[in-house]
């Protein structure tokens, strides 16, 4: 099906160009942009909620949240006091750079220190779409099974940090920590891994330190 491949390649190329322009814009505005990708229900929103609340004390933070339907997440995240906009994708299974660009309209990026972009819950498709972010985080919860990095390698290969969520549930689900760490390492040697519980407010400091350092991943 060469025609389909060609159309898909053009879409991705267009997205890459838009994402590069977005990254330049973020750069000159001095805003550090982090995206969050995971399966549905891995705890992205709870994690982001805690992050926004903790960071709002010292920084000017904002967020974009993607979902197929509803603005539940935006409503929830606004409790943190940060400005939050919902991107509703309809039937589209990922965010792209154009959606991000459109949803920033009217925001003065210079007034922000950190912008977070929560992707649609999907461990596959978001891997292919650069959003112009400086740091891409992939979240995987202890309830999902230790084999996820092996079965969804692409997202681990495009991420800059892996965040193991819901560690407060580790013993209830019989989580095999060593197996998960080994599987992440085998798919993506050297990928930094953080282990957190946003619900129990555990071990979030390593994450905040990482954001504080604003270390950008080198981009091709």
């Amino acid at each position: 099906m060469p025609r389909i491949v060609e159309v898909r390649r053009n879409i991705l190329k267009k997205n890459d160009l838009l994402a590069a322009a977005l990254r330049d814009r973020f750069q000159s505005a001095g805003v550090f942009v982090t995206s969050l990708v995971s399966s549905p229900g891995a705890g992205k929103t709870t994690f982001l909620e805690r992050t926004l609340t903790l960071m709002a004390a010292c920084y000017r933070v904002a967020a974009l949240v993607g979902d197929l339907a509803t603005d539940c997440d935006a409503v929830r995240l606004r409790q943190s006091g940060a400005p939050v906009r919902q991107i509703t994708t309809g039937s589209v299974c990922h965010l792209d750079a154009e959606m991000v660009e459109r949803s920033l309209e009217g925001w003065k990026l210079e007034d922000l220190d950190y912008l977070f972009i929560e992707n649609v819950g999907n461990l596959v498709c978001p891997a292919s779409y650069d959003l112009g972010e400086h740091l891409r985080s992939v979240l995987v919860s202890v309830t999902e099974g230790e084999d996820k990095p092996l079965k969804y390698p692409t997202i681990f290969n495009t991420a800059d940090v892996a965040i193991v969520t819901k560690i407060d549930l580790a013993s209830a689900v019989g989580f095999d920590r060593i197996a998960l760490l080994r599987n992440i390492e085998s798919v993506r040697p050297g990928l930094p891994v953080l282990e957190v519980s946003a619900r129990a407010n555990e071990k979030l400091s390593a994450w905040l330190d990482l954001l504080d350092r604003r270390v950008e991943a080198p981009r091709a």
Copy 2:
């Protein structure tokens, strides 16, 4: 982007034709085909493992399992004694009718009573692809949060039954059963809902009864 929409429409049309042909083939071979869709880590494989093991005593069962990478699931499921084939999709985020058709090559469908198709872990894209199945089940685990039906309505709208998994973890995660049932009902009034734990072997009988009745969903 009219060209992309058109290409996508043609892909889906081609898939629907292939799926209809598959359904006819399944029908005349007398094999009842059930697909399983969920987020990564909702417990599809454990659930299917229990299902195959329990059914193998009375029926001739087989399974196809989709993943981006690895044949871990096929290896695991073969422990049940049933024939199992892995479909490795590479970067494709869903199964389609053509993949199913190709992977059936060499199997005599007349020798089967039940065929199960485990889709790639993804709560979005599989909704659009008919696989010729008689029954589509969507699984959602108690660890994922009660809002999933609202945020991923399409898959609930194309499913014939919803299966709430990992109910043994309900109290550990503070699961709000009423909220989930209400959200399923609001998205898809009347959708049958089963609540199970494959790990604890709980309440699987309603599922086996449903399969036993071989009730087909009416198709457009």
